[in-house]
């Protein structure tokens, strides 16, 4: 039997939780300081009001009410109106300026009565208590009474039948669930938010540890805090490897390359161009973009290395007019420094553009630049999520990656991405008799035969030229080409 769930309204969370939070129950949301616990709770209430007209009660044990209001306004949540309309009620249990001492036994009945009144008053269907750990610090000498009293609070909540979130502090990212062992009496449903520092980079993740009597996605999923949509989760574990694979081919923009890969890229495939600096990667990208002319496709170019002007000038140097394509509304060029935001934000940003622009193709120049902004693990996850997304949308992708060595060699970026690409094109320098020559080869082409020779590749005013294969030379890919005498 499956537990009934309450749709939170955060599409990505509802996705990984298979439908939302357990209906009428309390979920513990645990996280270290700065892990966005408060925001998670606030978003739960805000979306409840915005999307489902479900009133909510927000109890604060930690932050002052005014600070929370300010924080909420920064996400364009109209907290003032909601409070006036009685859809959102604060229960202020934050520490006061006054000194408090404890003499003798006490209980939290005042808090319970206030909570119950607030819930009844607005007929709240959602309740957030943020954060339960602070009550232990407010009444630090009386840990046992607090524990006993919190069990009462949990019982009150379950009697009233509101779907609630209780947040709690944790001290370590990987260790005890909460600081004061709150999970001992709030055990049924636990969500953990993490904010891990690794190699000087922050990575936020969310994990549903358990929903008793219900299924959900397992493991950590990265999330980001978007200024428009607050918490957005990038659901890794919930991705389905079920894409429609097309037999339709699209041109690479270079007829000779199309011939090497037996008629062009598959529609909706992910293709990687790997090469050293100046080996012609951006040229292949420009041709890939120019290939949209034939069938009036649309293409999005995400450029992380060059500015618009540079790109347009270089393309026109190869006889390709980006400006015209843009004027026709077929091309959209976005040039940004990868460092301006996190990978997760880039991902969400690209999704937004795809939603409005609806491209048939996406070119990214270069993935290596993008990989600078995150940890290896984070980048791998991004690539998996991103390629799955593109395949789902049936968008043909062309990514470039830099190799550190001029001749031969591969890069870390490739190590991450090559297993999930459908084809890999290598651009390599070949040092022959005191001259740097360029070469092109198709390393893999999933579901299709392809030319296995390493061919000469030259760049002229007319653009790319693919020539004959390097006959009688071996060791190009290892960076040590040698002439072999043919018998």
């Amino acid at each position: 039997m499956n537990l009934q769930k309450l749709e939170t309204g955060n599409a990505s969370f509802d996705h990984i939780s298979h439908g939302g939070l357990p209906l009428g129950r309390t979920t513990l949301v645990a996280g270290s300081s700065g892990s966005a616990k408060t925001l998670f709770g606030a978003q739960f209430l805000a979306l409840g009001i915005q999307l489902f007209d479900q009133p909510g009660v927000f109890v604060t044990f930690e932050e002052q009410v005014d600070d929370i209001r300010k924080h909420l306004r920064s996400f364009h949540w109209d907290i003032d109106t909601w409070e006036q309309e009685g859809k959102w009620i604060f229960v202020d249990a934050a520490p006061k300026e006054e000194i408090i001492i404890a003499v003798g036994d006490f209980d939290l009945s005042a808090f319970r009565i206030r909570l119950e009144r607030a819930i009844m008053k607005c007929k709240a269907q959602r309740v957030v208590i943020d954060s339960i750990g602070s009550i232990f610090t407010q009444f630090h000498e009386e840990e046992h009474s607090i524990r006993r009293e919190l069990i009462q609070v949990a019982l009150t909540l379950s009697r009233l039948g509101a779907t609630s979130i209780i947040t709690a502090e944790r001290l370590e990212e990987y260790g005890k669930i909460t600081r004061f062992g709150v999970e001992e009496f709030l055990t049924d449903n636990v969500v953990i938010l993490r904010n891990v520092l690794h190699n000087e980079k922050r990575r936020r993740t969310i994990e549903i540890l358990k929903f008793r009597g219900s299924d959900h996605e397992k493991g950590e999923n990265p999330f980001t805090i978007n200024p428009e949509k607050a918490i957005v989760i990038i659901p890794l574990s919930a991705m389905i490897l079920k894409h429609t694979s097309s037999n339709e081919r699209v041109t690479s923009g270079i007829p000779a390359l199309d011939k090497m890969i037996d008629g062009g890229f598959y529609k909706g495939s992910i293709n990687l161009v790997s090469g050293a600096i100046g080996a012609g990667k951006t040229l292949l990208v420009a041709n890939f973009i120019n290939g949209i002319r034939e069938n009036k496709e649309r293409c999005l170019l995400m450029a992380f290395e060059e500015s618009n002007e540079q790109l347009y000038r270089n393309a026109s140097g190869w006889g390709i007019d980006f400006k015209e394509l843009e004027d026709l509304g077929l091309l959209k060029v976005i040039c940004v420094y990868p460092e301006i935001s996190s990978l997760e934000d880039h991902f969400i940003n690209i999704q937004e553009i795809v939603k409005t622009f609806k491209p048939d193709r996406i070119a990214i120049d270069s993935l290596s630049a993008l990989s600078r902004t995150s940890s290896d693990k984070g980048f791998r996850e991004f690539i998996i999520a991103f390629t799955a997304y593109l395949k789902h949308e049936e968008i043909t992708g062309l990514f470039t990656s830099n190799t550190p060595l001029l001749a031969g060699g591969t890069s870390d970026t490739e190590g991450n991405i090559s297993p999930i690409t459908d084809s890999i094109i290598l651009l390599r320098y070949v040092e022959m008799s005191g001259e740097m020559q360029r070469s092109i080869a198709v390393l893999k082409m999933r579901g299709s035969k392809h030319d296995s020779s390493i061919r000469k590749f030259t760049i002229s005013d007319e653009g790319a030229n693919i020539g004959k294969h390097f006959e009688g030379i071996s060791g190009i890919l290892t960076g040590n080409p040698m002439l072999i005498k043919l018998e």
Partner: protein, 93 residues
């Protein structure tokens, strides 16, 4: 000796509430010699006041005057600690 103004928040006839009321009345009588104002608020009957004052624990005693305002929570069963907490010297006896 200056005027003492108190608010005591209780919850009906709970054990802790009764004990707190008793102790406080004794202190007022014996140590303050009538020079006090005491308002006893039952949160069952007057929840708005509890809301306004941000009361969480029961019983809560607030000393409004003399300044600064301070709070003592609990059944007030250790008289010497209550006196110290309220800043009343037992010399006033």
């Amino acid at each position: 000796m200056s005027m003492h103004v108190f608010q005591l928040f209780i919850n009906g006839h709970s054990l802790n509430s009764i004990e707190a009321v008793d102790t406080l009345l004794k202190i007022c009588r014996e140590n303050l010699k009538g020079n006090y104002q005491l308002e006893i608020i039952d949160i069952q009957k007057d929840p708005d006041k509890a809301e306004e004052a941000g009361i969480i624990a029961i019983p809560t005693l607030i000393r409004m005057e003399p300044a600064p305002v301070n709070r003592i929570i609990g059944a007030l069963n250790v008289r010497s600690r209550v006196l110290a907490g309220l800043g009343i010297s037992s010399m006033h006896k």
